[in-house]
């Protein structure tokens, strides 16, 4: 119960927010904050009570279970997700009314944002607590769907919609790859339980299948964490309102990717090549993100590229087996969320969102400057903030792998200080530009809380060490010691930190010299990245699908052929490839007893041939129903009264349906179709031969290999005990009952479609 209680509370507050929001839109935000706060309290109580676990069967045939557990990793990430989420909701409650008012949108659009943030929060909670790989994938996909609606919150704006779609396509398609990896793992080891997977894989040892599966998992994580080459969705996703960016793109959605890697780490450790690749990708993302962040002018873009870079650091740490990777995500999430909220507040107060229009806001926004200064110091890794330790752990992991990685770490940390410092200094110091009214206290308060946490984390080290140790141990799969502390000596971490501060400080001080040159270079570079490739692939695929469609819809006969020809060829292919015992076709014997059957078939064939010469559509319908009725007669001769009865009924219904349909068609199009049909073309004969020949070959083949021991014999034996003497009824309602349910549901869905289609036409 302790495990699911926070989850239940978050999930329950979603309908509550929507319900209250419909009644009083202004109260929805408060309800959302309340829901998040209560569930954070429940989560804290659960953590205080110690490890807990929930284990319920889910899909027994696949050995998948609903397993949720509170362990080191889920405590750290769950706290981050709920805590930052609560603060973001608090912020959104003040931010959104202004935001909507500025755009002259009605207030009742507000609850939608709170509700989706809560949905996202619930999905993240499931994700971090899931101990079953399939459940994890499901939760990840729910976060993707929720992020689509959050990024595309401003439905009217094209930029928001396309950004949301881009994020959905990139993170969704990579998470399909992740699913492939997980299913491969499940198939290989026969379980989706992560602990058992690790156990079995360790015992069996690495193999090609494990390598492929983990590669797929890594791709999914890279897409979600916006790492090269899937990074380009993140800067575009900045079209979302600030609370969404602050939540999704600092502490939640992008964190989900590296979380998956940390969850799978004991498996990844068996495949060093995957880990090396991850470290490489992390390094590239780190450099690329940092440089772009240095050269960006739009406030949120600076932060978006910085997020790409920062998750690159985490990837490097995971790749080099650093125990501090989970802690890094926590520290980064706190500071980055605060900075996102800060730029949102700045834009809200001044109406500007670019560094070129802003500057020297320190005097007009003292509280904002102070709180965001702490957060920026935290992100840059200055001492007395929680960020110092994230950098210390980062250096610790890198220094252990030789001078190359130590140098890379030094460069990365210097760049971090560079872009963070540039952002803060340009915003709050120097000549005042674009000054607006003071940001309201409701906006500064959540930033203050985050800044306070950043400071507290920099001095009160014992609980943080415990948290980091538990999470690191859970990630590595064995107990580790992650100790945080200040050491005043010349250990390599301290030297690297000092070097990074010096370099980063220089970068900030000399910013006027390089800024002008960097921006145009990056602008050109931005046109040649993965985003261009993505666009090219998308437009090519679009063109191919258009071409195929144009080929198909040229006329009705081609459209029919487009279905029949591939189906016929597939059938022939299956016939050629499927292993069969004995000859493919066995000619049966024809005796006098078969005379009625042959007569029925002759009538059916005659009607079919006559259909070729039908003078109008009504004749055609009648002739086709003749075919159906004579086939029904054939069935009744072949001792299948059930089939014959059903065939008669269906044939009657279809005739009526056809006639009703014909009455709707405009006369001109009927006449046109008729004249077209009177001019058969050469390729029509070919189409008919392939489709008909394939159908006949398959039927003949199936009838040549009737075996005595069929499923029917078992059904007949079972139908007595199933209370039905007629085996057909027993099959429909009992043996294959679930099939019946699904088919019937499809029928009802089709019915709804038909009704909608017809009513829409009437409305025109």
């Amino acid at each position: 119960m302790t495990v699911v209680l926070p989850l239940v509370l978050v999930s329950l507050s979603v309908p509550l927010v929507l319900g209250v929001g419909r009644w009083r839109p202004a109260w929805a935000g408060l309800v959302g904050v309340g829901g998040a706060a209560v569930s954070l309290a429940a989560f804290a109580r659960g953590v205080a009570e110690g490890p807990a676990r929930l284990d319920v069967p889910w899909i027994p045939t696949w050995n998948a279970r609903l397993t949720l557990a509170l362990d080191g990793l889920s405590v750290l990430y769950g706290g981050l997700v709920l805590g930052v989420g609560l603060l973001v909701l608090l912020y959104a409650r003040v931010y959104m009314p202004h935001y909507l008012e500025e755009q002259k949108r009605p207030r009742d659009e507000e609850p939608r944002l709170h509700a989706w943030i809560l949905v996202f929060m619930a999905a993240m909670l499931v994700l971090v607590m899931a101990r079953d790989a399939l459940l994890l994938v499901v939760a990840l996909d729910v976060t993707t769907v929720a992020s689509y609606f959050l990024i595309g919150y401003d439905r009217e704006r094209v930029a928001s919609r396309s950004a949301a779609l881009l994020a959905l396509v990139v993170t969704g398609s990579t998470s399909v790859v992740l699913l492939v990896g997980v299913v491969l793992l499940g198939v290989t080891y026969g379980t989706f339980d992560l602990e058992r997977l690790v156990d079995l894989a360790t015992r069996v040892g690495p193999g090609p299948r494990l390598g492929w599966a983990l590669g797929c998992v890594a791709v999914g994580a890279l897409g979600k964490s916006a790492q090269v080459p899937f990074h380009f969705w993140l800067p575009r996703a900045m079209a979302a309102p600030t609370p969404v960016s602050a939540y999704l793109h600092s502490a939640a959605m992008v964190a989900a990717g590296v979380f998956v890697l940390q969850r799978f780490f004991p498996l990844l450790a068996l495949e060093p090549r995957v880990l090396q690749a991850l470290a490489g990708v992390g390094l590239v993302s780190m450099v690329m993100g940092s440089v772009f962040s240095l050269g960006s002018r739009r406030l949120k873009r600076v932060l978006a590229y910085s997020t790409i870079a920062q998750y690159g650091y985490v990837l490097v740490m995971v790749g080099l087996s650093g125990d501090g990777a989970p802690f890094y995500v926590l520290a980064h999430g706190l500071c980055k969320a605060a900075l996102f909220l800060t730029v949102g507040a700045v834009t809200e107060a001044t109406g500007k969102d670019s560094l070129t229009d802003l500057g020297g806001l320190g005097r007009s926004q003292p509280w904002l400057a102070a709180t965001s200064g702490v957060a920026a110091a935290g992100l840059a890794g200055l001492p007395l903030t929680v960020g110092f330790f994230k950098d210390e752990l980062f250096f610790h992991a890198l220094a252990a792998h030789g001078p190359f990685w130590a140098g890379a770490g030094l460069l990365g940390a210097a760049l971090t200080l560079g872009y963070t410092g540039r952002l803060w200094v340009r915003l709050f110091l120097g000549e005042p530009r674009g000054v607006g009214p003071r940001a309201s206290a409701g906006l500064v308060l959540p930033i203050g809380v985050l800044a306070g946490l950043t400071l507290v984390g920099g001095v009160w080290l014992a609980p943080l060490s415990r948290l980091a140790t538990a999470a690191g141990g859970q990630m590595r799969g064995h107990a580790v010691e992650v100790s945080l502390g200040y050491h005043l000596d010349t250990r390599v971490e301290n030297l690297l930190a000092l070097g990074a501060w010096t370099l980063g400080g220089l970068l900030v001080l000399t910013r006027r010299r390089w800024e002008e040159g960097l921006v145009p270079v990056l602008h050109t570079a931005g046109n040649w990245g993965a985003e261009r490739l993505y666009g090219a692939v998308l437009s090519r695929a679009d063109a191919v699908s258009d071409a195929l469609r144009n080929l198909e819809v040229r006329d009705l006969r081609d459209r029919v052929a487009a279905v029949l020809i591939p189906a016929g060829l597939l059938g022939l292919l299956a016939l050629g490839l499927a292993p069969t015992s004995g000859p493919l076709f066995i000619p049966g014997e024809v005796g006098w007893d078969d005379l009625p059957l042959l007569m029925g078939l002759a009538i059916a064939a005659g009607a079919a041939v006559a259909a070729l010469g039908a003078r109008n559509h009504l004749h055609l319908v009648m002739l086709l129903s003749c075919v159906g009725f004579s086939l029904a007669a054939v069935f009744s001769f072949a001792a299948a009264p059930d089939v014959a009865f059903t065939a008669v009924l269906v044939e009657t219904t279809f005739t009526l349906l056809f006639v009703a349909l014909l009455s709707r068609l405009p006369r001109e199009s009927r006449v046109r179709a008729q004249t077209e049909a009177q001019r058969p073309r050469g390729r029509d004969w070919l189409y008919a031969a392939v489709a008909g020949g394939s159908a006949m070959a398959m039927t003949w083949n199936a009838l040549s290999h009737l075996s005595e021991e069929r499923v029917m014999t078992r059904h007949i034996a079972l139908s007595q005990s199933a209370h039905a003497r007629s085996v057909v009824s027993a099959i429909l309602a009992d043996f294959r009952g679930l099939d019946t349910v699904v088919e019937t549901s499809v029928v009802v869905v089709v019915l709804l479609g038909v009704m909608h289609l017809l009513s829409g036409e009437r409305a025109e």
Partner: protein
């Protein structure tokens, strides 16, 4: 086609047709016939009214007006029989009484939940057929002169 005799006969045929449909459904437990056939038969009996007396007269029948709802009720019945056993911890679509257990006999019919399931199938099929054909005809009779009955496309020549 607008023959008073045909109209009254078709109207009189309606109750017996439904009886036959029920018979087909119940007979299905012992021999040929099933709930699908019963549903189609009932729908055809209603559609006969379209052919005989035209759409406007046929629409007076409650079976036509509420056909979509009938399909909905049928689906609910099906889903109910399928998923209610889950609540009691059985596999979906476990019939009560179970295989081999004692059941109440009404003639040849053994009363168990599959009977309810079959009623659901009949209702869905009947609702579907009637709604689809009624929908297809609906616009036509608005533009066509009233009393034309079923449109005959053969007139195009």
């Amino acid at each position: 086609m607008n023959n008073a005799f045909i109209q009254s006969v078709s109207r009189m045929l309606l109750p017996p047709a439904f009886v036959v449909a029920v018979a087909v459904w119940l007979k299905g437990y012992a021999e040929a016939g099933d709930s699908f056939g019963a549903g189609v038969l009932a729908a055809l009996a209603i559609l006969l009214q379209y052919v005989a007396s035209g759409r406007d007269a046929a629409r007076q029948l409650p079976g036509v007006r509420y056909a979509p709802q009938v399909a909905g009720v049928g689906l609910l019945l099906l889903l109910g029989v399928t998923f209610v056993p889950l609540v009691f911890g059985h596999a979906p679509l476990s019939h009560v009484p179970g295989p081999g257990e004692k059941v109440l006999h009404l003639g040849v019919v053994e009363v168990y939940t599959a009977v309810l399931f079959d009623v659901g199938i009949s209702l869905v099929v009947m609702g579907f057929v009637v709604t689809a054909i009624d929908g297809l005809l609906s616009q036509r009779s608005k533009t066509a002169p009233p009393g034309g009955g079923m449109a005959s496309p053969g007139k195009e020549r």
